[in-house]
């Protein structure tokens, strides 16, 4: 469903990614693992068109999207949840959802506000709260809800477990499994290996912008050498 080939990208003269390739299918949670600064967030931003590629191509449902403006990519059904949440702090919960709202898609799960409030009961109780007055965990829920209400077919999730209390991390894992169950394709960036194990089907490991490993989550679990070399701090 989502495929990246020969991706090279960076900021200005600084090159961050080198010939990256990856794939993700519907109903699959693919985890992109790597240390801080390895280029995980840059990969997601490049896919989303927030960063001009130096080279390479990105296809979504067989269609090239690497030259499209960001909003067109989003409207094709690719959702993006940034790592720093980027809630509209001046807008209420409902207004934040309104920004993300898109028309229902025949070939993607439909998320109404009611369905989202069942998934995130906290949000349902604070519909008129300003984004800036929410806790970190609540903001993280809102940022995911805001993306889901656009009825995406695939979602890019950038370190959703970062900075959250353990019990919320647990809840986050449930949410991702829920998304998977509904048939979404999820590409997830993580540093937290434990969290990745909870939700991931397959894993890619990148280091300093190069792809170092790809395989199933179970295989990675058995491969101490890879974990030691590319992931341990």
């Amino acid at each position: 469903m989502l495929e990246v080939r020969g991706l090279n990208a960076g900021y200005g003269p600084a090159k961050i990614l080198f010939d990256l390739a990856l794939k993700a299918a519907p109903g699959e949670v693919v985890v992109l693992l790597g240390r801080n600064g390895a280029g995980k967030s840059t990969t997601l931003k490049s896919i989303m068109g927030l960063l001009r590629l130096h080279a390479g191509e990105v296809t979504f449902e067989g269609r090239r999207i690497d030259r499209l403006p960001t909003y067109r990519i989003a409207r094709l059904g690719l959702g993006y949840v940034p790592e720093d949440r980027r809630i509209f702090t001046d807008l209420t919960v409902m207004e934040n959802l309104e920004v993300g709202r898109q028309a229902p898609r025949a070939d993607a799960p439909h998320w109404s506000p009611e369905r989202l409030f069942t998934l995130f009961p906290n949000l349902g109780r604070m519909q008129d709260r300003l984004g800036g007055r929410m806790s970190g965990g609540e903001q993280q829920m809102l940022t995911i809800a805001r993306t889901l209400i656009g009825n995406p077919k695939a979602v890019l999730l950038d370190e959703p477990s970062e900075g959250l209390a353990p019990v919320i991390v647990e809840q986050m894992a449930q949410t991702i499994l829920e998304m998977k169950k509904s048939g979404l394709c999820v590409l997830l960036c993580e540093q937290n290996l434990h969290f990745a194990h909870l939700v991931g089907d397959r894993a890619y490991v990148i280091e300093k912008g190069h792809l170092r490993y790809s395989g199933s989550m179970a295989e990675l679990e058995r491969d101490d050498a890879v974990r030691e070399q590319f992931l341990s701090v």
Binding site: G12, P69, T70, A74, V99
Partner: protein, 610 residues
């Protein structure tokens, strides 16, 4: 002042506040979403006035107002779609420059279409009488305006809070990138916001015609007023714009009412400076979110290669030989070019490597010029002494104002530099006894040994080349590197023990001092000076030169100064509508070379190498 005259002044202030609010609200909306500082906003207001005056004769005042607003809205939509849309990715100063070029084009179009004379508008039928309030006559139309402002505020509030469009606008004002990642089409949003902003400006202008004549001078004065209002209120805040418009209009009304009408030229800038010092993001503004990630990386300022140095030496040598072949007008023009080259290099010093975007650099040029003029004429000092000490006055001015400016950042800093320049300008403009007021100072002649054109040319050449070389040398001293470090990452510079504010303050003062040298040389080259020497347009000229040359290049400002001064001189002598031509040239250059001319050449050279 009696109670009833206080009431009348208060109502006068309210009526002015309404029209000011309309312009400022549009400017604020546009800046909030597109991040473009739209200098042409006053021109849209002026167009609204002229179109309404033109239409009122045929279809009556009340029909002309909405039609003028719609016409200006349509023009705004065209400008956005054809021009601004192409430069949203360009550095923000270049965007501001493009809108300034638009000011020039619109001004000359208006001149061509409606002529140079002020045009009196009609009275508003049905509201052309006056009512008696507390014993004073007060125009009915002004009462209508007083009610109209709050109505527009309410309508905008509903639009922003109760519609999907408004929610998207507010979201994009806060984080455009995130909004687009959620599928919001920025193009459409930008066009609609710009169109609405233009419509409000046109409406403000059209509604003003029963109160004051349509004049070609209104564009810059309105946009400067609107900027002040928007900055005081807090960028992007509509209620802020309303409160600030009220505040400024009332203060101005009471200045007039109390008999201090000369104060009106400067009072708003004093209020703005005070507000910015106390609340650096305006009354209703909030600290802007710092750009995420590494942001835009400035191209490093590499030391000039041997070839470049050799070329510069060769150019200097050629300039030294110039009087052998040319005399008269060429030398006069060359003196101008050298002076503006130094002025531009000093502005570039603080803008490029210093990272402080000054819109009021002319103040220091003017302080140098007036320092020289006052020393020579009022104190009777010899020319050599005046020339030597005048720049110190500019340096001192920059030291005082710089202290305030380096406490702010971004657009707020820019507006504060503009405010200070306007304060100096209005002091000079109004202090007839000392500065000669609008007539300025005449009879500034160089000492006899420098009286010939050739001798003065050599004086200018030696001073400017030496000053420019010194400024460039400073850029590669530890101080110069520290300035760039403070620009690129203030927090990191701070963390390794640099006093960022102190550094920027020193840089600001140095830039002011060198602009003062240029100003002092200018005063004696012209023989007379007037407040024009330090007007906003001079600051803008400096910006145009630096941006044309390329802000992150070393020698760019010099080539920019040569090109711009020559172009302006040739155009002004040969073409009636030279402003429009210069505006069009700037627009073309901005569209073709968003990185400046030197930046463009450097990029091409680099591409060829790699």
């Amino acid at each position: 002042m009696t109670y009833s005259s206080i009431l009348i002044q208060f109502l006068n202030g309210l009526a002015s506040a309404s029209s000011l609010f309309l312009v400022a609200a549009g400017l604020s909306l546009i800046f909030g979403v597109t991040r473009i500082v739209n200098f042409a906003h006053g021109s849209l207001y002026m167009l609204g006035m002229y179109v309404a005056v033109g239409l009122a004769g045929q279809i009556g005042f009340w029909w002309s107002v909405p039609l003028a607003a719609l016409a200006v809205a349509g023009f705004g939509a065209l400008v956005e779609a054809l021009l601004l849309r192409r430069i949203y990715g360009a550095p923000e100063l270049l965007q501001a420059l493009a809108t300034f070029a638009l000011v020039l084009v619109v001004k000359d179009y208006t001149l061509w279409q409606w002529g140079p004379e002020d045009i009196l508008g009609p009275r508003a039928p049905g509201l052309d009488g006056a009512v008696t309030i507390a014993g004073n006559r007060f125009p009915e139309y002004d009462l209508f305006l007083i009610a109209f402002g709050p109505l527009v505020l309410a309508a905008l509030w509903l639009l922003l809070k109760r519609t999907r469009w408004g929610t998207l606008v507010r979201a994009a004002t806060q984080d455009r990138e995130m909004a687009s990642a959620l599928g919001v089409n920025q193009r459409w949003l930008f066009t609609s916001v710009f169109t609405l902003g233009a419509c409000l400006a046109g409406l403000g202008g059209a509604l003003q015609i029963p109160r004051e004549p349509a004049t070609l001078l209104i564009d810059l004065s309105v946009v400067v007023d609107a900027f002040v209002v928007v900055v005081i209120g807090g960028l992007g805040s509509i209620p802020g714009a309303f409160v600030a418009a009220f505040l400024i209009a009332e203060i101005k009304a009471f200045c007039i009412g109390l008999g201090y009408s000369t104060l009106t030229l400067v009072i708003e800038f004093i209020v703005m400076a005070v507000v910015l010092v106390i609340r650096p993001w305006g009354l209703f503004g909030r600290k802007p979110v710092l750009p995420r990630g590494p942001g835009a990386i400035e191209r490093p300022l590499t030391p000039p290669s041997r070839t470049v140095i050799a070329a510069l030496v060769a150019v200097t040598a050629a300039l030294a030989l110039l009087p052998l072949a040319y005399g008269g007008y060429t030398l006069v023009l060359m003196v101008d070019i050298l002076i503006f080259a130094l002025f531009a290099v000093s502005l570039h010093f603080i803008m490029g490597p210093g990272g402080l975007h000054s819109f009021g650099h002319a103040a220091y040029f003017g302080l140098g010029a007036y320092g020289a003029g006052l020393l020579a004429v009022r104190a009777g000092a010899p020319m050599e002494v005046s020339l030597a000490f005048a720049p110190l006055l500019a340096g001192l001015g920059a030291l005082v104002f710089g202290w305030f400016c380096v406490r702010l950042s971004g657009v707020y800093l820019t507006m504060l530099t503009l405010a200070f320049a306007q304060i100096i300008w209005s002091i000079v403009f109004q202090w007839d006894d000392f500065t000669g007021g609008s007539n300025g100072i005449v009879g500034l002649w160089p000492a006899p040994w420098l009286a010939s054109k050739t001798a003065y040319y050599y004086l200018t050449l030696v001073s400017c080349v030496a000053a420019i070389a010194l400024l460039w040398r400073v850029l590669y001293s530890p101080f110069g590197y520290a300035l760039r470090a403070a620009r690129d990452s203030p927090t990191r510079a701070d963390a390794i023990g640099m006093d960022v504010r102190q550094l920027q303050w020193a840089g600001f003062a140095v830039a002011g001092l060198f602009a003062g040298i240029a100003g002092a040389l200018y005063a004696f080259s012209k023989g007379s000076i007037s407040p024009e020497t330090m007007a906003v347009s001079r600051s803008v000229d400096g910006l145009v030169i630096v941006l044309l040359g390329g802000i992150q290049t070393l020698t760019g400002p010099v080539w920019g100064a040569a090109l711009f001064t020559w172009l302006q001189d040739t155009m002004a002598r040969n073409i009636d509508y030279w402003r429009a031509v210069i505006g069009a040239v700037i627009l073309l250059l901005v569209l073709a070379f968003p990185q400046g001319i030197t930046g463009f050449v450097a990029e091409r050279l680099e591409q060829r190498r790699t």
